[in-house]
Amino acid sequence: MRLKGGIAAVLALGIALGCAVKAQDLASFEKRTTVKVLPNGLTLIVCERPEAPVFSFYTLVDAGSANDPQGASGLAHMFEHMAFKGSAEIGTTNYLAEKVALAKVEIAYAAYDAEFRKRVGQSPAKLAELKKTFEDAQAAAQKYVIPNQFSEIAEENGAVGINASTGEDSTQYFWSMPSNRLELWAYLESQRIGHPVEREFYKERNVVQEERRMRVDSAPIGRMIEQFLAAAYVAHPYGRPGVGWESEISQVTATEAAAFHAKYYVPSNIVVAVVGDVKAAQAMPVLERYFDKIPAGPKPEPMTTIEPPQVAEKSVIIREATQPFYIEGYHRPDYRDPDDSTYDAIADIFSNGRTARLYRSLVRDQKIAAEAQGFTGFPGDKFPGLFAVYAVPLPGHTPEQMRDAIHKELDRWKDSDVTDAELERFKTRAKADLLRGLGNNEGLAHQLAEYQTRYGDWRELFRQLDRINAVSKADIRRVANKIFIDSNRTSARIEFVAQQKQTTSAMRSAPTPPAAEQNVGGAK
């Protein structure tokens, strides 16, 4: 139920690749991995790894925050929270009665909402009355709720790591369990994915707003990243915060969440991977029995919006009582681009370990930064994302110095080739990282589901190594010259200014307005 805020998570994905050693090659995985596409379109993957009597699953829904409807940012994440609220069979004392009560909640909320949003002629008395009706309707529906029964059943049955995350590109649900609970899990998972009930929606909406306050409003880096992405994108939803703008997340409705589910949680949009002490021959029929029952639906139409080429450098300067920080990003193509592995190569050589260029230049030699890294595919890579670079200045050094030093390093990519040692290190590391990732159920389930979704075949997890190995020095130089140009850049920085006492009234109306300033300059 956490929002995938992970730059690290985004980074990790592209780099893990394959190699053939011992029993850990593609051929060995072919023998113990079974894929089945059900008649309703849902894809099941079972991978046998009988090291201990446990299993992990990873349910990947190919829709994320980028699919939030206009005016309802945060909805994908809100729905992810709701997927823990149970179904018609779980979490209720009497679903038929509850269903009627929940319908009344929606009617009452719609009436309240209509009055609340009135721009002219809003009646405070009527608003209060409608609010009361809405609250009474919620209380009436609450009578039937067994709160958190879904998660309780999982916990009592030994589930660990119960969680979910919503990224821009996809939404995922996962936990691990003793292997004798496989059927129980299949029941639970098929219930919440296929038949969720939007109960306690408006209370959970408050919880999600607290999540926004924690991750964005009250966190300096969170605030900065929100402004950074909003500046970098003019059309594509990658420019909106995944947790949602406050005004929108505070006004979404259970009806909207149900509609989001109906549209995007269709079986053809979902891959479920199970890894561990399971035998495909026995497990697959059990899984089918439960997941088969989810009604089929049309696969959602692909998004029309494509971010137009950036024509002017943009920058965000936040002046506040926070220590300085600098980040910049350049638009790059999505993960299907033939140069995808080249971006991974640049990120790896730029950032990975103490041999990385940014560490050696900014941290070790120039002694101006505590930390400096680049990463690719931010905030996602299903659609064109950013290649971003950030640096944390040492005390006494400025964001401007970070920017200059980063630009010098970017010019190196454009003006000269990487060394043989650098390129080789990237390729060696990619192989080793893939191998290291094969030794745990959670990671494997994640990888298999992800690659199956992205490429239509989990085998790409191993085959991607061929593309990694094909990356050449010339590719790197060509790609660097293509994207690291001024007009393709958006930057954000925090400049420290001592705390000024703000007036109480100003603080009330806008609790955390960082003094942000957006400049749009001409193309250079």
């Binding site: 030994g158 103490r354 060696t428």
Partner: protein, 497 residues
């Protein structure tokens, strides 16, 4: 750019109880009083749960050398890697207060400096070309050297590891690099409200000068010299202070021979003993730190916890599950799900291996509900003493611990790490078995007894980090408010640049 973890307080504040490592950020139910009748069907109850496949995890082989060095070997042939660690007694709790930060800087400078044969930068080149790692680190109770490589590279990587362990040359430029990074962290420590609240909570629970709570300052990191690092190395790197653990794709007999050859020649030294550390309970009251640029308050209520060796550890573990162990726990159920007051909420009566853990309850809530959330947390603490777990709460809590017990030892690395920690802190190797048996015996009366014995609201302090202008009603309705001074002391004149 670090990912915020919901478990950040658990991670920061001393090891949480074994069993509560799972969830802290979700929610569930004491069955609501108004639920008129039980759920109609409950189809999941009809699903047959077959017996779990028999599974006996391989235990690591323990070898003790004549010089006191302890070795654990855990063969694991699934992947072609060999990983090792050398855990060395002595950590930041043992460093002089005037040099707080020494062990962290030592842990970094050790590896980045390298050895007489290969400096740190050369080592970086060599290791990363093999996708291998050798890293050193400083921690609260120990320092460590860890390595990892493909098994084909083991000989060279292990030789380099032993060279780092025994023949480091601490270099001035790398110490300065470490110092500047410490200074960066110090300068930034008031940027994030969550970080502030955790830091101040630990200081209140343990006492600001307690070795588990004290903070590096510009002056203390400035005071650390190359000689300090060398002296720390000489004092701690002796075989009877070390535990070596190796896991991966190797032959046990030949690995034993390799390790004996490397470590048997080392001469026994003086064992490091941690000086007695005094713990006093915090004083009740509200401690407030202002953060004008936030719209959410971080609320923490803290006191002293216990040690795992306490015979009441089992009952306290079950109490933790009932209190805040997951979706079904009281705190999550009420503060998050029922009241919708927080996304991040949790707590535990913490137990460490060899010193009291921290009892904490926390929530992050919008400024306007600061008082309401604090009162809700207080009420849950009080309820621990007045309302013993119901039969349903007890069975849920125990099921949660026992049915997930397999996850304590479902991989060879987990089994190995468990044995290393037990050996390091002098616990019996069958601690986990005893823990399981202990949990099975816990009754509701046991939980009520330990709640009344250990939870004392007159020994708990409350910390709030938030935006005072937005907090209404004011905090003083909760009691006397003391303003915390979190100003960062400036660097001393003439600090090393």
């Amino acid at each position: 750019m670090k990912r915020i973890s919901t478990m950040r307080i658990a991670a920061t504040m001393a090891p949480v109880l074994l069993a509560t490592l799972s969830v802290s950020a979700q929610s569930t139910a004491v069955k609501p009083a108004n639920s008129t009748k039980p759920a109609a069907v409950q189809p999941w109850k009809k699903i047959v749960i077959p017996p779990l496949h028999a599974f006996k995890p391989a235990q690591p082989r323990r070898i003790e050398l004549a010089n006191g060095l302890v070795i654990f070997l855990q063969e694991d042939h699934e992947l072609p890697f060999i990983n090792g660690s050398i855990l060395i007694r002595g950590g930041s709790r043992d460093e002089p207060a005037a040099k707080a930060g020494l062990v962290t800087m030592y842990g970094q400078t050790w590896r980045t400096s390298g050895t007489a044969t290969e400096n740190g930068d050369q080592l970086d080149d060599q290791m990363e070309a093999k996708a291998a790692q050798i890293e050193t680190a400083g921690s609260v109770a120990s320092t460590s050297v860890r390595w990892s490589s493909l098994k084909g590279d083991f000989d060279t990587v292990f030789a380099a590891t032993v060279d780092v362990l025994l023949h480091p040359t601490f270099r001035a430029d790398k110490l300065q690099l470490a110092r500047r990074q410490m200074e960066t962290a110090i300068s930034r420590r008031n940027d994030d409200p969550g970080d502030i609240s955790i830091r101040e909570a630990i200081k209140l629970a343990y006492g600001a000068d307690n070795p588990y709570a004290r903070q590096p300052e510009y002056a203390t990191v400035d005071a650390v010299t190359l000689e300090d690092l060398k002296a720390w190395h000489d004092r701690t790197v002796v075989p009877n202070n070390m535990i070596v653990a190796v896991s991966g794709d190797f032959n046990g007999a030949s690995m034993e021979a390799t390790l004996r050859k490397a470590f048997e020649p080392l001469a026994r030294g003086e064992e490091l003993k941690t000086a007695a550390i005094r713990f006093t309970d915090p004083k009740p009251g509200i401690h407030f730190a202002e953060k004008a640029d936030v719209n959410q308050s971080n609320v923490l209520i803290v006191g002293l916890g216990t040690e795992r060796s306490n015979p009441d550890y089992y009952a306290l573990s079950v109490m933790n599950e009932v209190f805040s162990g997951g979706f079904g726990s009281r705190v999550v159920q009420n503060v998050r799900t029922k009241l919708g007051l927080a996304y991040e909420v949790g707590g535990a009566f913490g137990a460490s291996y060899d010193h009291p853990g921290i009892f904490y309850v926390q929530a992050a809530t919008k400024s306007a509900t600061t008082v309401a959330a604090t009162q809700a947390l207080d009420a849950e603490i009080a309820r621990l003493k007045t309302e013993p777990p119901t039969a349903s709460e007890l069975s849920k809590a125990k099921d949660q611990v026992l049915n997930s017990f397999i996850f304590h030892y479902d991989s060879p690395d987990k089994v190995l790490n468990e044995q290393v920690m037990l050996a390091f802190y002098g616990y019996p190797s069958d601690f986990l078995d005893k823990y399981k048996a202990g949990i099975e015996k816990v009754t509701s009366a046991d939980v009520a007894r330990v709640a009344n014995k250990y939870v004392d609201q007159s020994k708990l302090a409350t910390i709030v980090v938030g935006n005072e202008a937005e907090i209404a009603p004011k905090l003083d309705v909760l009691g006397k408010v003391t303003n915390l001074d979190i100003t960062i002391p400036p660097p001393p004149a003439g600090a090393k640049e």
